[in-house]
């Protein structure tokens, strides 16, 4: 964001402001203004560093005077605040930068700007007043949405230390910079260097970066802690994934399949009875309505298209609840590619219908018999398979776990969830930003997809709900952030449940999809820096919440999802709060568990 400090007139003050290093400095060349700088010595201007664009501000001045002043002071830009027309502006364009100022209010017709599109370099949008120049008040910045031209603009009018954080959130693609003036003065034309210094600090402060860096890290978490035998496979992915994901052909194929095969966009449903019960506007993001019954298909489609482009002939996957296994088997059937799914022996028993579904879809289901015989062991077996088959096989990891680039790649494929949510929420509420976004977390792929496009919107509170099993302190739990410590699991540095000796602890949850001893590295990072809140729900709380959802909304949620719903009981909302919960999957696969628990 560029910074322009405007309304300078005193030599010493000019020097002090120069030292702060603004991008533009503005000098008012309009007699009636209290900040009139016409008496300035040309020498003073010569001391302004050349890196700063010296801008002369005029109101309905004639061309000759403007040209003479440009000559005298060596101005690099002119800013026109009167009724100058496009032709007038064009006269100076090319000679100096031309900034045309407009006062904005509800009634402003942005179409008048069309004429200026070839005549100016920048616009400056100020608050509409009856006098020429600043009022010290800001205008409704939502009006900027109406501005559609591709000429960048400065924002002006009432900018102060109090509203700069808000200004930083303006996401208009042509938003070029801020114009600081009257709120940073001790007297007209005398800038308050202390206040300006603070403003520069606020503006130049980089927004927190929640994404992955080039080495595959989120803060201290992530990386690719893999044996050399896996290096070529992972390195090939790392090298290729971004360019493949960026490829137009890939995007088209991915989006078409999401639309026509998966049934996206998934609805954002305003759950009225839930809203009543919890005293807020509660929305369900209906990933349960996707083909195959959960969000897992988004990633599976993305990765199968990627595998095809990498020339792979065989797919392997791990699965916990069977949702990712079914999704993978489905896309393999769709593409006619061989599919092997590893699944813990215990999970195969408790998710038997999904095992049958995978087999019907033509996949081979291999039981993982080592360790706890659940998701982590299925992941180990899949990794071993990949080591033995490095050339022709692609491993479709189902969550935001594993060595880099998997956590980032899977998050990108799942980010469609929050991308759609923003748009849909705007239709429902007028704003694309909710107050809360909630999701359950095992490895964390539906949560990451649900959080993804809200990460930089710091006002959106992110809530992730882990599986507490029989209670966080019961010894039968999968609440990783409560029970885990930093370490290395399945190729990434993250938070995992482990003994003092660094042995991975066997987790427990009634929900196979959350029964995992770690969380994705990006979640570990969001947890550590407190960008997201991590809560937990027990088996009992989840099952009760699942039943409540059936009875209040007529939706049978997956037990995984029910953990997120259960946490609503512990939340305190304001009546105006907008809350989005990711309904990550449907509960058909869990009917046995529900039926046994409730004795239907």
């Amino acid at each position: 964001m560029k910074i322009k400090v405007c309304g300078l007139k005193y030599a010493d003050n000019i020097e002090a402001v120069s030292a702060l290093g603004p991008d533009y400095m503005g000098f008012v060349c309009y007699g009636p203004s209290p900040r009139y700088a016409g008496e300035l010595d040309a020498g003073t201007m010569n001391h302004v560093p050349r890196s700063i664009i010296k801008t002369a501000v005029f109101v309905n001045e004639d061309k000759e005077t403007i040209s003479a002043l440009i000559e005298k002071y060596g101005f690099d830009a002119i800013q026109l605040h009167g009724n100058e027309d496009a032709e007038f502006c064009a006269y100076f364009k090319g000679q100096v930068k031309v900034i045309k100022a407009f006062g904005i209010n509800e009634a402003f017709d942005f179409k008048v700007l069309d004429d200026f599109s070839d005549a100016v370099d920048l616009f400056l949008f100020d608050t509409k007043t009856n006098i020429h120049g600043g009022s010290g008040n800001s205008f409704d910045w939502n009006l900027l949405d109406k501005y559609q031209l591709d000429i960048p603009f400065f924002l002006s009018g009432g900018l102060s230390l109090e509203n700069l954080e808000e200004v930083k959130k303006i996401s208009h693609p042509q938003f070029y910079g801020v114009d600081l003036n009257s709120k940073f003065e001790t007297a007209p034309g005398m800038k308050d260097i202390g206040k300006l210094g603070k403003a520069f600090e606020i503006i130049k402060q980089e927004p927190m970066n929640y994404g992955v860096n080039e080495q595959g890290y989120y803060g201290d978490f992530g990386g690719a802690y893999i044996p050399e035998m896996l290096y070529p496979n992972v390195e090939e992915l790392r090298r290729e994934y971004l360019s493949i994901l960026d490829d137009e052909g890939f995007k088209t194929e991915f989006n078409e399949l999401l639309k026509d095969y998966v049934g996206r966009p998934s609805p954002l449903y305003h759950a009225k009875r839930y809203s009543e019960r919890y005293g807020a506007n509660i929305f369900f993001k209906r990933e349960d309505l996707n083909h195959t019954g959960s969000h897992k298909i988004n990633n599976a489609i993305g990765q199968i298209l990627l595998a095809k482009r990498l020339g792979k002939k065989r797919i392997i996957a791990e699965t916990g609840a069977g949702q990712h296994g079914v999704a993978t088997a489905t896309v393999c059937a769709l593409m006619g590619i061989e599919c092997v799914v590893y699944m813990g022996e215990i999970d195969m028993a408790r998710q038997a219908p999904n095992v049958s579904r995978m087999k019907m879809l033509g996949a081979k289901v291999m039981p993982a018999k080592s360790g706890s015989k659940t998701l982590k062991d299925a992941t180990n077996e899949a990794l071993r398979d990949w080591i033995a088959n490095p050339v022709d096989t692609h491993y479709i990891i189902g969550s935001v776990v594993g060595p880099y680039p998997y956590p980032d790649m899977v998050a990108r494929f799942q980010s469609i969830i929050s991308l759609e949510t923003k748009k849909q929420l705007k239709e429902h509420t007028g704003s694309e930003l909710p107050d809360y976004v909630m999701a359950c977390v095992g490895g964390g792929s539906n949560a990451m997809g649900m959080f993804y496009h809200f990460l930089d919107d710091e006002n959106v509170k992110l809530v992730a709900v882990e599986a507490a099993g029989k209670g966080v302190d019961s010894g039968h739990s999968a609440a990783t952030t409560f029970l885990g410590r930093e370490g290395v699991l399945h190729g990434s540095r993250t938070i995992l449940m482990q003994t003092d000796d660094g042995q991975v602890v066997e987790p427990y949850s009634i929900s196979a999809g959350l029964d995992y001893p770690g969380i994705g590295p990006q979640h570990a990072y969001l947890y550590k820096i407190h960008r997201a809140e991590y809560a937990s729900a027990t088996d009992d709380e989840a099952l009760q919440a699942g039943l409540l959802c059936c009875q209040l909304e007529g939706i049978i949620p997956a037990i995984e999802t029910a953990h997120a719903l259960a946490h609503l009981e512990k939340m305190k909302f304001k009546p105006t709060d907008n809350v989005v919960i990711c309904i990550s999957g449907r509960g058909d696969k869990d009917l046995d568990t529900y039926i046994k628990y409730f004795g239907f």
Binding site: A224, E228, Y231, P232, G371, A388, P390, G487, V488
Partner: protein, 256 residues
Amino acid sequence: MNRLNELFAAKKDNLLSIYFTAGYPELGTTLDIAEALEKAGVDFLEIGFPYSDPVADGPVIQHSSEVALQNGMTLNLLFEQLADLRKRVSIPIMLMGYFNPVVQYGVERFCKKAAEVGVDGIIVPDLPIYEYETLYAGIFKNYNLSNIFMVTPQTSEERIRKIDALSNSFIYLLSSSSITGTALQLSVNIEDYYKRIKAMNLVNPAIIGFGITDQKSFNKACEYASGAIVGTKFVKLLAERDYLEKIPGFIKNIRA
């Protein structure tokens, strides 16, 4: 100079190393096994510290790790057992295991303790080059420990050169891209791979591991490298009754 460097300076070929998992089949026989192996003529040893999720290992070594953990083996206990290492064993010793237990123990503390008891090298298959180089190389160097890297048939020449530059004892040449315990299939491709490595004239000697089970595969490995490592086959022997007494015969069968 540590014992590994001395060994490789003195002896250039037919080197034999044996891997076994500490705490398997019994908790207290770590040094007994090491001593018996030295007496049987083995040149250097890899003592494995067990991990719950050994992704690079096949069923035999996985099982040995599981049993060792059930027996109560931990890094703390292993270092206690190794306190007498240098009273009983003089050949070079490496510790081999996965990274997470080392992270929990503390990388610096682990290296310090290893150096104290007389360990010469460390093999951590899931500690990548980038992290080793940027975070840990200095610590390993301070304690005069060699870090050993692996190379597979898929490893690029550029990466092998980098590994060679980062190594100061030997390079662990995997005979195929597979988990431990997979039979060595000496296809034309593998021979080409060995020849390719040999032709690179690396600074560090290469030792071939994974898939060495008998005299024939050992001799074949020694044609292309300075020696070989036997793991799975030896761990299988440990499952037998009176395993300590069978060690001399086992070694004789590999290196007559």
